[in-house]
Symmetry: D2
Subunit: 235 residues, 4 copies
């Protein structure tokens, strides 16, 4: 992996985004071994979109950090959950399901097919994306039915996977994308870089976001009073 | 085909439903070469679920018959559109899209994967259904995103297809299922028979259906009047 | 409340289900003050559909019980979350969001409108259901977009609420229904009883359910091998 | 109406878009009384987003024009169907349903509630939009369940309507928005102007669109051959 990703997985992901989005993005790297897993309040408070790649050590992520990221997503921050992040604490909490799947690591060819051609995440993506060798992730993928299904992957072993899925949670947007195993040079693949760049733009909060998660609203006054507008909301 | 389906495609489909549903269903066969394509008003008026298989001669189906079936579906009748019925007039009208797809007839192996395990159409279905040889139908399948995605098919050529999809239209339910080419003995496959039987039960109208398509309601009186209930609807 | 519900909320809910479903259901009552909140392993292992009503003391529910119910839902058990159960631990965990909403308790008239007339939960339900007086629950309701939106409620104050929503999670089905405040005789309302009875039937697990939550499948062998079927799955 | 909309409905809609989007849009007006209903091939070929307002004379729109607009939407053009355009030929064809609804013209107050706060169409929109007087459009609205439900309207009469809905059809995006009756100054309302401007940006085709509707793809070669990539698609 050190050979394939001399600058780390996060380095390769960052390089792809910089290549395609240029000055439109400012990228900060955070790693699990840093204090607060690199995601302190100050950093999160200035983060519009968070990409999350993790593997094997999900349980070591601090629950307080997960709480913080969860609140930030519900308040409007975009989240890209990549590959084995299907088992990250934050993704499982946002989904409410086991997020389990079928898998096999035997260098299958993976083809990534677009099934949502008017979606911005698919702009400029060939039909299909060809990944010569990759780990197989297969169905049943135990997630809520995506709000928008974007990509389906097939594998030379005959399996299938909903490999690109969008959900909205609170005021935030979540995109899961399965290509990205550490044993293959996926993040150097030009089409994969394009998907990630498109997804960052899609997941970006709408202008004017206040990043406050939805909260209980105690409404003392009715909006309509005896069929007429109360003075307070008369337009 | 005469060898494979000595009683016709419709005969094989009917036999499968009878085998699995027994007295719960009464089956009438209609064929395109009959007057009114076999679908006169009297028959439709007593039909709860219509299965539609057609090929190549879709354009010869009478538009008045399509209008009639369309109204019946919107009024509550279930519709199973099978295989090449993706290009039938009735299915295209219900979808509003081209319903085009990719295809190749080269005896691919098809695997049918369940992605909705709590859906009644998947009850008793193995993961995956194995079809040794079949025509390939692949993405992009130009249909509206299904209300419920049930099955995904992969092919030995690497393609993928949303092969089992549910939509609700008006008061009626529509299920599209792609396995079923005339050149292969698909409708004798025990798992395929099970899918069709499950789908007939799912598409069956709810009890108390009046089979009237939704219509404009001219509402003279408000439901609430100055914040209180009008006498007419006081519960 | 003792006057309105002399047999408790759960007693009224049970009575309605018994009235409409008769011998088709066997009902067991569990209350929060019982050991393990009344939901021990033995009871859950024989429960097909769980109705959950709770208020104010959600935080006192044992986390181990919530874990157990969560696993049972993912394994196939149906769940009806009623009214203030929007803030129950189990519902929030299944949704992954805050589940917050707007509210006001001022005896508004509530009208419950059907927007999914082919759905079994709406069978026999008038358009609209009229509830003379009820607590107002309004938007924004912070839940994932429902897989199927069934009912919308309006209030004499002008507010709106997605009051009947279906989701699938794992192998299980979840229905949230907002009418049901303890200060009003909602569960004696004939239409509300009908909705609950319909929902219990809808949420019932499919036949043959094994109640095992989805789990990781380590697939050693490809389903297709060099474009052909491996012997092990040759049909 | 001439007093309220001295420059026509289309003039008011155009003025709102110009005010909010400025040079980002170039607006051309087309009216039903023009040759080819103002929508000749040349104009459509340069149109990215089409707003459609119509009333009463839907049947007089030329079917050939509807075919042309339909193909253009499936090829990627965005469509905003406004108010009584629910009964336009183009909208009904894209939906496949009756598109009928309940209505009453008695100057109800309408409140438009956001139920999808992370959607770009809701950016900068208050909760709720207050429309002092408007025609009532109510459920049941016979359209396919929207891919994304954005707005719900309530009326002082107690009715409810899914007043802002998104669908994807082919490569194109469709937004229906119900506020906009000719008897009320709706299109001068600042929040309504904002919704329309947001919707135009959302419905805009993705960069690189070729505007070719999806078509049948006859695939001679498999994408995978005996578990490996054929030379033709080797990446």
């Amino acid at each position: 992996m050190a050979e394939r990703y001399p600058d780390g997985m996060h380095g390769a992901i960052a390089a792809g985004l910089t290549e395609l989005l240029g000055d439109a993005v400012t990228i900060t790297r955070a790693t699990q071994d840093q204090p607060e897993n690199g995601l302190d309040e100050g950093l999160l408070a200035t983060t519009d979109v968070l990409t999350w790649w993790g593997h094997a050590t999900h349980e070591d992520v601090d629950n307080a950090v997960v709480d913080r990221v969860h609140q930030r997503v519900l308040g409007g921050m975009g989240l890209l959950a990549l590959h084995s992040a299907h088992f990250s604490k934050i993704f499982r909490r946002l989904m409410g399901t086991t997020c389990s799947l079928a898998w096999r690591n035997s260098g299958d060819t993976e083809l990534v097919w677009t099934v949502n051609p008017s979606h911005p995440i698919t702009a400029g993506i060939p039909q299909p994306i060809v990944i010569n060798e990759h780990e197989m992730y297969g169905e049943f993928f135990d997630v809520p039915a995506p709000d928008e299904l974007i990509f389906l992957s097939t594998f030379s072993g005959g399996e299938v996977f909903r490999s690109g899925c969008c959900w909205r949670r609170g005021k935030g947007k979540v995109f899961y994308f399965s290509p990205g195993d550490q044993a293959y040079p996926i993040y150097h693949h030009p089409d994969i870089k394009r998907v990630l760049a498109n997804a960052v733009l899609w997941a970006n909060p709408e202008r004017g976001s206040d990043f406050a998660p939805p909260a209980v609203a105690d409404m003392p006054a009715p909006h309509l009073h005896r069929g007429a507008l109360p003075e307070s909301i008369e337009a």
